[in-house]
Symmetry: C2
Subunit: 163 residues, 2 copies
DNA sequence: AGCGATTAGTTGCTTAAAGCAACTAATATG
DNA sequence: CATATTAGTTGCTTTAAGCAACTAATCGCT
């Protein structure tokens, strides 16, 4: 029966929604400008993404950032103009232009990284060391749970215990 | 020494940032339009807030939503025009106009609520009942940890156990 | 009571973020 | 080789949001 656990599920849903509200407010996720305000959230995300996937193409970037074609083009143009990103020429396919950070771009990303870390540290501020560890582990665990994409149809056979 | 635990802290910060990236992406928290796209995020938040604090004043709303005076005024005007919100006349102070949801507004909020719950259920989809409970508890716990605002200077004396 | 100071909300105007659609250049395909 | 498809760009528009000047009501003071 598909609705077997409906009642219990509702409480869980509410708990998670409560967490979302709290968390988004707490992290300033709805602020339009990122961190120190030198970049919009999207601009910063583009930088990060190029930093962590050098040679990424605009198309791929567009998919991970889930933004429009034209808008991305402009964001990139700006980053290039500001000397943070370099658009290299692909040998294989001259339509695409693999993107890389320049040295200045890497410095900028490092700076944003530091800024972000500082914010998180502020968040951790009120906690003693023990609770920090606890929180980090909690969230890691939550993430692994959430990362599961599909419920297996059949319970995996429990592995024979190795004695 | 203030830097005593610098090394350990760094790993925790990284864990939390990883969670942030994952979670925001997973929940579509950076989408500009909320849920079914009939409201902007701010518009929806205004509705929710009025729903949960009937009679709230624009000023108070402005503070919780952290948006501009003029913009809020327009958001409210739209909600009123659409028959979702009613701006009553305050007897005490005729400058302010306590806000309420209309019946249609309440229906709308209920609908958004259902929509949101549906999304979360989708998120829970892959998990079996045991793991759902686990996840909900994890996030609740994380929230209580994060809700602490200040580290007490001195450990609070443990209360005398009541026998 | 009367008048300047303050407060709640509105309106006009501007800016920034983002989307849409038409376009160009390069490549793939039959 | 001609047509279809793809990567990215450009012109134009829309939407979300901010700023500052304004109105109306209330407060605080003498």
């Amino acid at each position: 029966m598909i609705h077997a656990n409906r009642g219990e599920t509702r409480g869980q849903v509410e708990a998670i929604r409560a967490f979302n509200r709290f968390y988004t407010a707490r992290l300033g996720l709805l602020r339009r400008r990122h961190l120190d305000g030198r970049f919009s959230l999207t601009e910063a995300r583009a930088l990060f993404e190029i930093g962590s996937r050098p040679g990424v193409t605009a198309k791929a970037l567009r998919e991970t950032l889930e933004i429009d074609n034209g808008y991305l083009s402009r964001v990139l143009k700006q980053h290039v103009r500001d000397g943070l990103v370099r658009a290299t020429a692909s040998r294989a396919d001259r339509r695409e232009k693999p993107l890389m950070l320049t040295a200045a771009g890497r410095r900028e990303v490092a700076h944003l990284d530091a800024e972000s870390a500082r914010m998180i540290e502020e968040l951790l501020g009120p906690l003693d060391q023990e609770r920090r560890v606890e929180l980090a582990q909690l969230l890691e665990h939550a993430q692994t749970l959430l990362a599961r994409r599909e419920r297996p149809r059949v319970r995996i056979e429990r592995l024979r215990r190795v004695e």
